[in-house]
């Protein structure tokens, strides 16, 4: 496999402009002759489908939900970054670029990151024009707040529901194109394979989740916008249906998987309360703007927080990182919280939590200001924990939240399968080893509105397309394989449910491939996962039929893929003998417990090639060079 990043030459601030000019165009009259499939309707998928429809392409879009608006982007809370410099605090495209490369611990492609920063301003313009009700100040102009990993205020927000409002904006643009007839939406369809004809991605196989019918669709290009794989850990902040099936099956068909071990643990989630728990709830990182994180100075202090006097509290982030304080990046905040709890300073019934305290902010700004900023988050916390955060500090603990890894893509967002494009969280591209807050929404919309519509045109204009129809043998074969797998899942008739296997996989992943990783644990995971997978294929129990709405069957298919992906993540984590961003190898840390990178040996993207189930994957390397932001120890002190 050859990895060609196709990064254009020239100075960084000119790369995208030059590249855009060099991209071939499709004649406006010819656009409708090209069919593009977009899988997923989150921020990246909906914005891509809408923009491609506006351009005149014939777009088919698919979701396993009933409506495009249900995609998990809707749950993002805090905000979206753009260096508009409205706060007049010295922000610029270059600073956002710099912060993102540094925040990603020097494991992202510089040219991609610069482009992301460059187009981010247009996203805000676009969203405002769509009617996204961003927060404004009394002048009527847009308001900003600051976020972890940055010292400027560049985050635009719509209360604690920014993701919802941005997704509804993209959904409205998509709805307009559906009405115009340029986009056709297929609801309740789960993509189960990509179809290759002469090595090109020419279509997909889906299952109609209501009738169980296995269908095929042909196109000139396929775009995957199917999100991340955080649910690999079972308990995460992801929506229940979020899964890796689309990208995993594309991987098995030849798409390289980039940096799978780069998973992000979010520091501010509501702690787990019991075994029955189905998911963890995230509280936006923006809370760290006004909330102060602390633990009691005394180990095992069981007093209620309000009876612990100020001098007996350890505001450990402010103590260790005086310049960034509570606003250190996510990986740092998460690791420190775990360390505090590991050392016996944790609070709450399980001892796996730290306090996030708003008392100072409420005194300083008044309750109404805090309510305006975070009202819905406070309500949510109150509802779940039965405690009022206006009166007692919140209890928080880190949880899996985002995956920086994903399918490898070149500068055009195309995977190693020609014609298969990957956008949003599903690709590996812009965040390196750690994503900064308010950057996921930015990347999803940048890819969908302003990057893919150009780059896919170049592919469509230059590639040769031998006729491919859903009746062709390659489609029939892929369809047959999917049907066989569905049949197999139903026919095992063992004793354990998909959920039970899933929970067990999640425990292995969290324990050995979670926030802190070491060689011994990873090797253990690499023997446990294949064993569990074997048991799965012998003892799985799926009730119901394949020709019906069957949530058990859907889950079984997704768990089957997680059981393979988990192994790849462990392989990647084991091979990367360094700590960087979200990947923390306990063997590689500084004396102060910070991540210790090894730039000499690991300054590359690990792009893994599938070699067969249970076989050691093949490692390909895309070297990373840093011409502008010179790698240094990432310090937030």
């Amino acid at each position: 496999m050859t990895l060609e990043s196709k990064t254009p030459g020239g100075p960084i601030e000119k790369k995208w402009q030059t590249h855009r000019f060099n991209l071939k165009l499709v004649n406006p009259a010819n656009k409708r002759k090209y069919t593009v499939i977009v899988v997923g309707t989150g921020l990246a998928g909906a914005s891509a489908a809408a923009s491609l429809g506006e351009l005149g392409y014939n777009v088919l879009t698919f979701s396993y939900h009933e409506s495009p608006r249900r995609a998990h982007s809707i749950a993002a809370q805090g905000g979206i970054n753009a260096p508009k410099n409205y706060a007049n605090d010295g922000d610029s495209v270059y600073r956002l670029f710099y912060d993102t490369v540094k925040g990603g611990d020097y494991r992202a492609r510089e040219a991609n990151v610069y482009r992301l920063a460059e187009v981010s301003g247009s996203i805000i313009d676009q969203c405002v024009a769509q009617g996204v009700p961003f927060a404004r100040d009394y002048s009527g102009y847009l308001d900003n707040r600051s976020f972890g990993g940055a010292q400027v205020s560049r985050t635009f927000y719509a209360r604690g529901q920014t993701g919802q409002q941005l997704l509804l904006g993209a959904y409205s643009a998509l709805s307009r194109q559906i009405q115009a007839g340029t986009v056709k939406f297929f609801q309740r369809r789960e993509m189960l394979d990509v179809v290759l004809v002469d090595g090109q991605a020419r279509g997909i196989v889906v299952r109609d989740l209501v009738t169980g019918a296995i269908e095929t669709y042909a196109a000139n290009g396929v775009v995957l916008a199917t999100g991340g794989y955080g649910n690999l850990f079972y308990l995460s902040t992801m929506a229940k249906a979020s899964n890796a099936t689309a990208i995993w099956r594309a991987h098995k068909k030849g798409a390289a998987f980039g940096n799978p071990c780069f998973t992000q643990i979010h520091p501010t989630c509501i702690p787990q309360s019991g075994e029955y728990q189905s998911k963890l709830t995230l509280m936006s990182e923006s809370l760290r703007n006004d909330g102060r994180i602390w633990v009691p100075k005394k180990k095992g202090d069981t007093r209620r927080p309000e009876s612990i006097p100020e001098e007996e509290r350890d505001y450990y982030l402010e103590r260790i990182y005086p310049s960034f304080g509570n606003l250190v990046p996510r990986d740092v905040a998460s690791r420190r919280a775990k360390e505090m709890c590991d050392n016996g300073f944790g609070v709450g019934p399980t001892g796996r939590a730290v306090y996030l305290d708003f008392a100072d902010a409420i005194n300083r700004l008044g309750k109404h200001v805090i309510e305006e900023r975070y009202g819905n988050l406070f309500d949510m916390y109150h509802e779940i924990s039965a405690e009022d955060p206006y009166k007692v500090p919140m209890r928080i603990y880190p949880a899996v939240h985002y995956t920086m890894g994903g399918l490898w893509v070149d500068y055009n967002l195309m995977s190693t399968i020609p014609g298969l494009f990957v956008v949003g969280e599903a690709n590996f591209s812009d965040h390196g080893a750690n994503r900064l807050g308010a950057s996921a929404l930015m990347q999803g919309l940048a890819d969908g509105y302003f990057i893919l519509p150009y780059t896919i045109g170049d592919y469509l204009a230059t590639a040769k397309f031998p006729p491919a129809k859903a009746e062709d043998p390659s489609f029939k074969q892929a369809q047959g394989e999917v049907e066989a797998m569905v049949k197999k899942l139903i026919s095992i008739q063992g004793k354990r449910t998909a959920e039970e296997f899933y929970k067990e996989l999640g425990r292995i992943m969290w324990e050995y491939v979670g926030m802190g990783r070491n060689k011994e644990g990873l090797q253990k995971a690499l023997t446990m996962i294949p064993r569990l997978r074997e048991e799965f294929w012998q003892d799985l129990k799926v009730v119901g039929s394949a020709n019906d709405l069957n949530a058990e069957l859907e889950k079984a298919g997704r768990v089957a893929d997680f059981l393979e992906l988990g192994e790849l993540v462990a392989h990647d984590a084991l091979h990367r003998e360094e700590s960087c961003g979200g990947h923390f190898r306990e063997e590689h840390q500084t004396e102060e417990g910070e991540a210790k990178r090894n730039d000499k040996e690991f300054s590359y993207v690990a792009a893994w090639e599938f070699a067969g189930v249970g076989k050691h994957p093949i490692l390909n390397k895309e070297p990373l060079t840093f011409e502008y932001v010179k790698p240094s120890e990432r310090s937030y002190k």
Binding site: Q130, P133, L142, K240
Partner: protein, 246 residues
Amino acid sequence: MDFKLKIWRQKNREDKGRFVAYEVKNISPDASFLEMLDVLNTELVKKGEEPVAFDHDCREGICGSCGMVIGGRMHGPGKGSATCELRMRVFKDGDTIVVEPWRAKPFPVIKDLVVDRTALDRIMQAGGYISAKTGAVPEANAIPVPKPYAEEAMDAAACIGCGACVAACPNSSAMLFVAAKVSHLALLPQGKIERTERVLRMIEQMDEEGFGNCSNSYACEAECPKKISVTHIARLNREFLRAEVT
């Protein structure tokens, strides 16, 4: 906590459907309503029975997927939360809880508690947008929006499209849903240009889908998980009247 459940089971669109009684035991008061259903479903699967089908996804009250009638209330007892946010601590130990799908003609049942709400998508497609083509827009701060308008627009835009308002309404009206979008966009200068067409087309589609009219019962506001106010229906009516006479 232990509960007796009476859950609506319906194999598919054509099936007549019926209530089936179940029991669940040892449920934590901190568990969510859907986690309680997960426990029931695991037991059913273990016994080789089909689990209860229900739509759900984010489980934090924002995606709008979940929604069922619990004890006669949309999304269960309490105000301002979706089914997934409901905690078992609001019930009493030993309670009998009746669980049904949304009941409205434009929302046919697909299976058990899963209904088809695509009628709402079609209303949005009819006009629930500002026609801003990608790239063809002014700088974000070029048009200031007075804060009170922006805030009120946000109140309306908070709608999660769950359909509780329709299910709660004695006329199966979708007026609160439509009003939330019309109001959100009408309050913003960016949305003013297409206001006439928008309201006419959305209302036309709403009628075509078979949703009823508003008769001021206010049940929608009472049951809305996002507490969207009926004052938006008043604005919808004004917008509609204005559009009719211009």
